[in-house]
C-alpha cells in the first residue's frame, strides 16, 4: 500500500482547502475550497478579476497564500519548507500571453527546462522535444524563433514546453483569450487531447462550450469565492445561484457559448 493517500484512491490529487489571499487591502481569494481527483478536469469560469488566475498561480506557488492549505499529489505546498522548484517540476502552467522565450528557438524553448531543471541529457531532451513538436504538427518550426509563429502555434508550443517536464498536473490560465478567433480551435483541440489522455487539469477559461464538453466539474468564481460548483450539465443548464445565471446569460449574449 502506498504511503501517500488512504489506500482507497479517494484522496483528491489536488486539494485546495479554505485558501485566502490578499493583494494589499483587496481580498482576491476568499476561503476557496476545491478538490480535483487524479485524471480529473476542472474548469474555472467567472468574470475577469474573480480570482481564477490567482488561484492557478497559488497552486503553482507563483503566489503565496495567506491562509488555508494546498496539497498536490500528497505534498503540502503551503508549509514553510517546500522545495518550490521540485513542486513546479510536476505542475505545468500555461499563460494567456504564451510567454515563450523570444531569444530561443522553438526547440530550445521546449528543451530548456528538461535539460536544466531535470538534467536530462541533451540528445534525450532534443528527441523528446522533437517528438512533442511533431505531435502538434510543428516539427518543421523547431528551428524558428517564436516571433515567426502565429499566436495559436506559439500557444501550442507553450503547452508542449510545459508537457516536456512530464507534469502530473496542468494549469491552463485563459490560454485562448489572447488568440484570434480562428486560432482558438487548434489550441482547444490539443487541450481536449490532453484531457482524453488522462492528464489532471485545472482550466480557467471563457470558452463555455469547451468547458461544458471537456470538464468533469465546473466552478463558478465570483469575487474570489467559488460561488457554485457542479457537473457541467447542471451549471450550464440549471445554475442554482443568481450570479451564475447572470454571468452565463451575459456570456451567452456575448456569443461565447457556441
Amino acid at each position: 500500500m502506498s504511503t501517500h493517500g488512504n489506500g482507497n484512491g479517494a484522496r483528491p490529487f489536488v486539494d485546495v482547502d479554505n485558501v485566502c489571499k490578499w493583494f494589499g487591502e483587496l481580498q482576491v481569494l476568499d476561503r476557496v475550497t476545491l478538490q480535483v481527483p487524479e485524471h480529473g478536469v476542472v474548469c474555472l469560469i467567472g468574470a475577469s478579476g474573480s480570482g481564477k488566475s490567482t488561484l492557478l498561480r497559488c497552486i503553482n506557488m507563483l503566489e503565496r497564500v495567506e491562509e488555508g492549505t494546498i496539497t498536490v499529489d500528497g505534498q503540502c505546498l503551503t508549509k514553510d519548507k517546500v522545495d518550490v522548484n521540485e513542486v513546479r517540476r510536476k505542475i505545468g502552467i500555461v499563460f494567456q500571453a504564451y510567454n515563450l522565450f523570444p531569444h530561443m528557438t522553438v526547440l530550445q524553448n521546449v528543451m530548456l527546462a528538461p535539460r536544466k531543471a531535470r538534467r536530462v541529457p541533451r540528445d534525450e531532451a532534443e528527441w523528446a522535444a522533437r517528438t512533442l513538436l511533431s505531435r502538434i504538427g510543428l516539427e518543421a518550426k523547431a528551428e524558428e524563433y517564436p516571433d515567426r509563429l502565429s499566436g495559436g502555434q506559439q500557444q501550442r508550443v507553450a503547452i508542449v514546453r510545459a508537457l516536456a517536464m512530464q507534469p502530473k498536473l496542468m494549469l491552463l490560465d485563459e490560454i485562448t483569450s489572447a488568440l484570434d478567433p480562428q486560432l482558438v480551435s487548434e489550441v482547444l483541440a490539443l487541450v481536449r487531447e490532453l484531457a482524453d489522455s488522462g492528464m489532471t487539469m485545472i482550466v480557467a477559461t471563457h470558452e463555455m462550450a469547451f468547458a461544458r464538453e471537456v470538464s468533469d466539474k465546473v466552478c463558478f468564481l465570483d469575487g474570489g469565492r467559488i460561488l457554485e460548483e457542479g457537473q457541467p450539465e447542471q451549471i450550464f443548464s440549471d445554475p442554482r445561484e443568481a450570479r451564475t445565471r447572470e454571468f452565463l446569460s451575459r456570456v451567452l449574449a456575448g456569443g461565447r457559448m457556441q
Binding site: 498561480r57 503553482n60 507563483l62 518550490v84 522548484n85 521540485e86 513546479r88 517540476r89 505542475i91 505545468g92 502552467i93 499563460f95 500571453a97 510567454n99 515563450l100 522565450f101 523570444p102 531569444h103 530548456l112 527546462a113 536544466k116 531543471a117 531535470r118 516571433d147 507553450a158 514546453r161 510545459a162 517536464m165
Partner: protein, 238 residues
C-alpha cells in the same frame, strides 16, 4: 590677424604633427591595452554587481545595500580622484602584491571600478526591462532563480543594453587618458611631453585624432544596432 596665424601655426603645423606621430602612437597602444582589459573586466564585474543588486528577499538586504553603496560612490566621485586614491594609495599601503603593481595596472583598476558603477546601472535597466511574465514562465517550469537569470533574463537583458553599453565604453576609452595623472605614459601624456619639448601643440592634435578614429567606428556600430532593433520592433508591431 598675426595672432591667429600664430595660433594656427602652433596647433596645426604639419611638420610637427608628423614628427609627433610615432611617439604618440607608441603611447596610444597602452591606451588600447588598458581599454580592452578594463572593458572585459567591467562587463564581468558590473554584471555581478547588477545581479547582487537584484537579489530577492530580505536576507539579501545587506548585499543589495553594498551594491548600491558601490554604485553611488564610484558614480559620484570624479575619476581623477579615484585614480589618485588607487595609484598612490594602494602602493602606499605596502600590501605586497597589491602594492607592487605597475601604474598601468592601477590605471586599469581605476577605470574598471568607475565604469563598472555606470555599467551596473545599464545592466540593471536591461534586467528590469524584461517582462515579469518571462520570469514567471521560467520559474513555473521548475528553473531555479539562478537558472532563470542565466538562461532567460540576462540573455534578453544584455541584447537590449548593448547600445547604451557601447556608449559607456566610448567614455571609458577617452578616460584612459585621465589615468596619466598617476604616471601612466599613454598617448595624452606623451603628446604633452612632446608639446613641452617642441614648444607647440600639434602632438596633442595627433592624440585627439587617434581617440576620434577609435570612437567613430564604435559610434557607428552602436547606431547600426539601434536602427536594426527599431526595424525589428516595428516588424513585430504589425
Amino acid at each position: 590677424m598675426h595672432a591667429l596665424r600664430h595660433v594656427l601655426h602652433a596647433f596645426f603645423n604639419l611638420h610637427s604633427f608628423t614628427l609627433a606621430m610615432p611617439d604618440v602612437w607608441a603611447g596610444f597602444q597602452l591606451n588600447l591595452k588598458m581599454m580592452v582589459v578594463a572593458e572585459v573586466l567591467v562587463l564581468v564585474l558590473a554584471l555581478g554587481i547588477a545581479l547582487v543588486r537584484g537579489l530577492p528577499g530580505p536576507g539579501a538586504r545587506p548585499l543589495r545595500a553594498l551594491a548600491i553603496a558601490y554604485t553611488d560612490f564610484f558614480r559620484g566621485t570624479p575619476i581623477i580622484i579615484v585614480a589618485y586614491f588607487i595609484g598612490f594609495g594602494l602602493p602606499g599601503l605596502q600590501l605586497g602584491y597589491i602594492s607592487n603593481q605597475s601604474f598601468t595596472t592601477y590605471g586599469v583598476i581605476t577605470l574598471t571600478l568607475v565604469y563598472s558603477a555606470y555599467v551596473t546601472e545599464v545592466y540593471r535597466a536591461g534586467i528590469e526591462s524584461v517582462h515579469a511574465s518571462q520570469r514567471a514562465a521560467a520559474r513555473s517550469l521548475g528553473l531555479s532563480y539562478w537558472q532563470t537569470m542565466r538562461y532567460v533574463i540576462v540573455p534578453q537583458a544584455v541584447r537590449r543594453v548593448i547600445p547604451p553599453l557601447l556608449n559607456d565604453f566610448v567614455g571609458l576609452q577617452k578616460d584612459t587618458a585621465i589615468v596619466s595623472v598617476i604616471g601612466v605614459t599613454e598617448a595624452a601624456s606623451l603628446a604633452q611631453q612632446f608639446s613641452n619639448n617642441n614648444g607647440d601643440f600639434p602632438s596633442l592634435l595627433v592624440a585627439a585624432v587617434f581617440f576620434i578614429l577609435l570612437t567613430i567606428p564604435l559610434a557607428r556600430f552602436t547606431d547600426y544596432l539601434v536602427s536594426q532593433r527599431e526595424r525589428r520592433e516595428r516588424a513585430q508591431a504589425f
